[in-house]
């Protein structure tokens, strides 16, 4: 391995350090609560939850391994239900599709419910550039939009904010007078957003699952904004990744059982919505037209390969909540749309070659502790994927975070026991002295907060030798 070829050191630390202690404290306390409520709702309440996770993993993997068939089946069922199905290969195609659908329908104002796929393709900017107004209606996303911020969690976008932050935002934007009471803040947002729902020409949502068997879209939410977004405007556009297909309604029962418990510690979300198509004649409400956009954006590259298990992901966010790195740097520290362990894998893999290089540092931003795999409702071997990505990055000479140690000398040392022993003896004799001042920036930064271990007076080897000699005599 030629180390010298590895150029372009990325310093992810600089991104993490900038975040305030108050946002880290918000993330820390919210994450701790979520870990506890997940354990109560899943491990304590559900019998055989460990087996259920493996069962869910198997069913998700079955669909992923036969995705070509299930996607066509889903397309047919949805079309039979009167849903217009579109395929988008990448971000650009997806953006253009939505803009065109809205243009053709004369849309001026869009109500949007929370959708990570729309974040993935940076949809809002494209719609605004095309002259349309977009209003986020999920309470967290609404605050993110008002603050010109980014979501820092895939389920709870303002986990990094306190109620004081939200109160200040609402006061600044004239949504309500300064009031830190969460209920009062929610009521103010509700009043404000009601007029948006009533006046929007189009509602954009995501979809948690699409059932191939019946062509129904399934969404889970807690605020009711998703129902208004999908049912009130005359046009409904739903977008999701191609991997969100489930085979049957029976599979859905299993996945819904795991999703909310893993995500928020609820046995079910407040709303679980089944969307079977646009308004039929005689229906009292619903959109006149319903479109579903199925996004690839690099997902098909994962099929059948080293990262195929990642496509099982149902976006519950449990891996973020339990992750000690996420807790330390917050979602924004990752510098990518998808943060946390799942984001460290998806970010370099989705969106093509450019993402691969841009986010090559993310799989390294993990201590490989494996807490993520332990809570994953579909048992994705996350640490295995992270080391696989690291291996690939090294072979492809991708830029890495500071402090890449030279492995060739190390492997020489560790395969030459004679030299190994002499090196350790020298360490004991000389101590750290010369090494302490090694001009390696990452090491020097590390030394600011860590002391090096002391060299022992007697090594295990010499103790063992002496003991051996004594027992022989």
């Amino acid at each position: 391995m030629k180390q010298s070829k590895r150029v372009g050191v990325v310093d992810v630390e600089a991104i993490g350090i900038g975040k305030s202690e108050s946002s880290r404290a918000s993330v820390r306390s919210a994450s701790e609560k979520k870990v506890v409520s997940r354990a109560m709702a899943l491990e304590a309440e559900v019998e055989n939850s460990a087996d259920l996770r493996l069962e869910a993993a198997a069913r998700r993997q079955h669909v992923i391994d036969h995705l070509d068939e299930y996607l066509l089946a889903a397309e047919k069922s949805m079309t039979d239900n009167g849903i217009q199905v579109h395929w988008a290969a990448d971000q650009e195609e997806a953006q253009q599709l939505v803009v065109k659908l809205c243009h053709d329908a004369g849309v001026k104002r869009i109500a949007k419910s929370k959708s990570m796929v729309s974040e993935e393709i940076h949809l809002n900017g494209a719609l605004e550039a095309a002259g349309m107004e977009v209003v986020e209606t999920d309470l967290g996303e609404f605050v993110v939009q008002l603050d010109n911020d980014h979501p820092s969690h895939i389920v709870t976008p303002i986990i990094h904010k306190s109620r004081k932050d939200v109160a200040a935002t609402f006061a600044r934007e004239g949504i309500s007078e300064y009031n830190e009471d969460p209920e009062a803040l929610t009521m103010a947002a509700r009043r404000h957003l009601r007029s948006v729902f009533m006046s929007a020409d189009c509602g954009i949502t995501g979809a948690n699952f699409i059932v191939a068997e019946t062509g129904r879209l399934v969404t889970v939410s807690n605020e009711g904004n998703l129902r208004l977004t999908s049912n009130t405007p005359r046009l409904h556009i739903a977008m999701t990744g191609i991997e969100k297909i489930v085979a049957t309604e029976a599979d859905l029962a299993l996945l819904l059982k795991l999703l909310a418990r893993s995500a928020t510690g609820q046995s079910l979300t407040v709303y679980t919505q089944f969307l079977g198509g646009p308004r039929a004649s005689g229906d009292p409400d619903g959109p006149d037209a319903m479109h579903v956009i199925l996004l690839d954006n690099g997902r098909t590259n994962l099929l059948g390969g080293r990262y195929r298990e990642m496509l099982r992901c149902i976006r519950c966010g449990a891996c973020l909540n339990v992750c000690p790195v996420y807790r330390a740097v917050t979602g924004h520290g990752y510098g990518s749309v998808y943060p946390g362990p799942m984001g460290a894998i998806f970010s370099p893999l989705l969106g093509g070659e450019e993402s691969r290089r841009k986010y090559a540092y993310l799989p390294k931003a993990s201590s490989l502790c494996g807490a993520c795999e332990e809570v994953c409702p579909v048992a994705i071997p996350i640490p295995k994927m992270l080391v696989a990505l690291r291996e690939e990055s090294m072979r492809m000479h991708m830029p890495g975070p500071g402090g890449t140690p030279p492995w060739a000398p190390w492997s020489m040392l560790a395969t030459s026991p004679g030299i190994w022993k002499v090196a350790l003896e020298s360490g004991r004799a000389i101590g750290w002295g010369p090494a302490r001042i090694a001009p390696v920036a990452a090491f020097q930064r590390w030394l600011q907060h860590h002391d090096l271990p002391a060299w022992p007076r007697q090594s295990f080897r010499s103790w063992w030798k002496k003991r051996d000699a004594e027992s022989d005599s």
Binding site: S367, P401, W446, R461
Partner: protein, 256 residues
Amino acid sequence: MSTESIKPTARQKPGGAVHLMLTCLCDAFYPEVGMAAVRILEHRGYKVAFEANQTCCAQPAFNHGDWAAARKVARATLKVFRDAEVLVTPSGSCAAMIRWGFPQLFRGEPELEEAKALGSRTWELMEFLALHEGLEAWPGKWEGRVVLHKSCHLRELQPHNGSDLLLASIKGLELVGPKTPEQCCGFGGTFTVSFPWTSQEMGGNKLRDLSTTGPDVIASTDMGCVMHLRGMAAKAPGVSPRLCHVAEILAESLAP
């Protein structure tokens, strides 16, 4: 337990030989942990063997992504322990490298079967006592309050390795639990150098949590965690508990 890791099946009878895999950290810095492991294994009636040509299991390069360098070292590890019927190591991390890492590292390589076979002969020390030996209590006496940090790599072994059970059974020892046992200390090998600030933040969170119950000792199943937390505690005055390996407590608890 990770679905990807190999479960040890090789057994040894008291009186038989058990090979000690010392680990590079204990080889360089922590001889007392190796000595404690020897004391414990001999107390259980095994003959401890130490292969002088052992160095490192190969994990640092494996985790960093340089699998070519890692394979060279892993091959040397396979060779050194070729004749070891049973291998015991006072490190969840090194045991995990062999049982979880080697099958990935040698996928498609001629050594894969040999690597898997070594995995089936490799036990982490506490796991060896609790699951191989079937011990439910440790016959020692030790006065003090201990908080246990189960190192993260136990997740790639058999996480319920019995360390808490054995510690709690020691006469005079009060075992207290951390509030967030699932949280990593932030070491992660080269991770701590690549991401020093993040690693430090994680270490701070961990030390705070481990210290809340006022323990005399913070004990871990891996010296990587101890090295990291000790190194941080040295630069953060006010952290007073002793930091050490669980094996040291077990060895100290035995009559001299």
